[in-house]
């Protein structure tokens, strides 16, 4: 129970219902549009779009250059844009350089590429700790990096939304772009995991 509920204020569920009623009465929203939008984000938009961007960058050097130079334009090139899809900056992970993304202020996240953020990304502990002790947090999340790997924590904001271009795993030289898409995970594009070879 939240402090708000213990204080006897209406629950968040009731406030949301009340807000929706008021917005419908004023003609500001159409509940059918809201329904469709929620379904779209719950079922259609997920990390697959980001995985397509990564696989293309792995197989098309000219695209990789464009992606690292201007992430927003290069991801739009593949048809991905929308709220929180602006100001995308892509950073590349390698054997010696590792980037991990957080948004310490409000959990902003590149929705059109990765879907909605997972609960751990929004958690105050992740937001605070990954900045102070990234190596430990990554290790707790199952990613043990050698001591000589340099870790850079990228803090997203309204001006920059970071996306990690993970390292292409060894042994995947013969895979097609479509097969590579299957390997790329959301966590690798946030920088809390590596992409594993099949």
């Amino acid at each position: 129970m939240t402090a708000e509920e213990t204080a006897g204020r209406p629950s968040a569920a009731l406030r949301t219902e009340a807000l929706e009623q008021l917005l419908v009465e004023r003609g500001l929203i159409d509940p059918a549009v809201v329904d469709r939008l929620i379904t779209t984000y719950e079922t259609n938009i997920g990390p697959l779009n980001g995985a397509k961007v990564v696989a293309k960058a792995w197989t098309d050097p000219a695209y990789r250059e464009r992606l690292l130079a201007d992430g927003t334009t290069a991801t739009k090139e593949l048809g991905f844009g929308g709220p929180q899809g602006e100001h995308i900056v892509v950073v590349e992970n390698s054997a010696k350089e590792h980037n991990v993304v957080v948004c310490t202020l409000c959990s902003c996240y590149p929705w059109p590429l990765l879907g909605l953020p997972p609960s751990w990304y929004k958690d105050p502990a992740y937001r605070a700790r990954v900045v102070r002790e990234p190596r430990t947090v990554l290790s707790e999340m199952g990613l043990d990096l050698d001591a000589d790997v340099r870790i850079t924590v990228r803090d997203s904001s309204s001006e920059v939304r970071w996306l990690v271009l993970p390292e292409r795993p060894a042994g995947t030289e013969s895979l097609s772009e479509d097969e590579l898409v299957e390997l790329v995970t959301r966590d690798a594009m946030v920088g809390v995991a590596k992409v594993a070879a099949p």
């Binding site: 209406p10 569920a13 959990s107 997972p118 609960s119």
Partner: protein
């Protein structure tokens, strides 16, 4: 909701990489309202984001009560709508209090067999 959620099969809730996107139906509704309003031009996204940062920052400062991202999201949305004049302050609370007085089973007008 007290029924256990099934992990797979047609009754399974939508998941992303094995995790629930929303912990309760009102969370997805609050999400959908904000994005719909933004898409309809009711406010610019940075304005909503600034309100969300302010709400989360205030919670971070004293950490009273449990953490709930979508509580802050909803509060930020209310803040922006008060700010733009779309929904005057106090209206959401008074409507919610009125809704709370509905008799139990109000959403099931016909008796269940």
């Amino acid at each position: 909701m007290s029924a256990p959620l099934s992990v797979d099969g047609i009754a399974a809730p939508p998941r992303a990489n094995g995790e629930l996107l929303f912990a309760a139906p009102w969370e997805s509704r609050a999400f959908g309202l904000a994005v719909s309003l933004y898409e309809a031009g009711a406010f610019d996204w940075p304005r909503f984001q600034a309100a969300l940062i302010a709400r989360i920052g205030a919670w971070d400062a004293d950490r009273v009560g449990d953490w709930s991202y979508y509580h802050h999201w909803l509060a930020a949305l209310e803040d922006v709508l008060v700010d733009t004049g779309a929904v005057p302050g106090g209206e959401v609370a008074s409507r919610a209090e009125a809704l709370a007085l509905r008799p139990a089973g109000h959403d099931h007008p016909h008796p269940h067999p």
